[in-house]
Amino acid sequence: MRYTFSLLLFLVLLTGCASTPEFDTTQVDQSLTPQSVIAEAEFSRGKIVLWGGTILDTRNLKELTQIEILAYPLNSNYRPQQENKPLGRFIINHQGYLEPTTYAQGRQLTVLGKVSGSQSGKVGESIYTYPVITAEQLHLWLPASERSRTSVHFGVGIGL
């Protein structure tokens, strides 16, 4: 039984690749994080940021959709890296309707937008100040199970 595992070195790995979104990052202020924006609210207003993270909640209001996100650092494809330490929460305001079952809790989202202010809310009983971003461009990432279902590539995988 043991020895058969050396064969696994050559096993085929089926893995999905998602297309990389294109963001115009020329105006993005890379130094800003949700936490630093709250610390320097005056300085940050109107700045363009490219942030991403995990959706905590999506609320449909009369004319806009509010998405609450727990931010994580982005990788080079702008995908949030959930295995890293989170960078704080923020709120996205998107003009118009977004389908809440699509922008569902737990999905990953990357947003290019403008810092428009802050809003306070409660996390449990503690009062939390959220930076608010007006969305200009959103990219919703496919969950891992969908990625492997929709586009299948062959490769040999060895890793840790």
């Binding site: 089926l14 893995t15 449909n60 209001l61 009369k62 309707y97 079952t101 496919l142 492997s148 995988g157």
Partner: protein, 172 residues
Amino acid sequence: MLLISMALSCSAHIPAEIKQPIEGAPSVSQVRDSASVYTSQTVRWGGIILETENKQDTSRLTIVAFPLNDDGEPRVSEQSSGRFIAIVDEFLEPLVYSRDREITIIGRLLRTETLDVGEFAYEYPVIQVEHYFIWPVKEEPVYVDYPPYWWYDPWYPYYSYPYPYYLHHHRR
């Protein structure tokens, strides 16, 4: 570690009506933009069931629609084309026609109905269903993660651990 995943696919018997596209039929978003133009048009739409309500003689499904593939099955990883309500003139078991199941229907546009989603006043096209098909539940692809035994065993190949460390670990 090594990952192997097997994509399993199974075929189902799909009714011919469901497979057949309807020439010139509007999408959910087209109907939501200008419903009056399309009244009593026949459409073939599909998506994910959000809610099933059993009325006295009918069942009323709220569906989040997606574009359909060649078989008429919703491509749920794509962008939703909007919500609609489907009215079926029979009892549908709500435990079967349950949230997240995929369904494709053919029917006529009766009217639209405005209902709140959160605080947003959403205009739902309402379809009187003539044919419907609920898609079989798909098996999730299974990822099996085999840690190679020599990775953990500093005494390899001289000692044998009492436990089988080649046990599968399932990754989700």
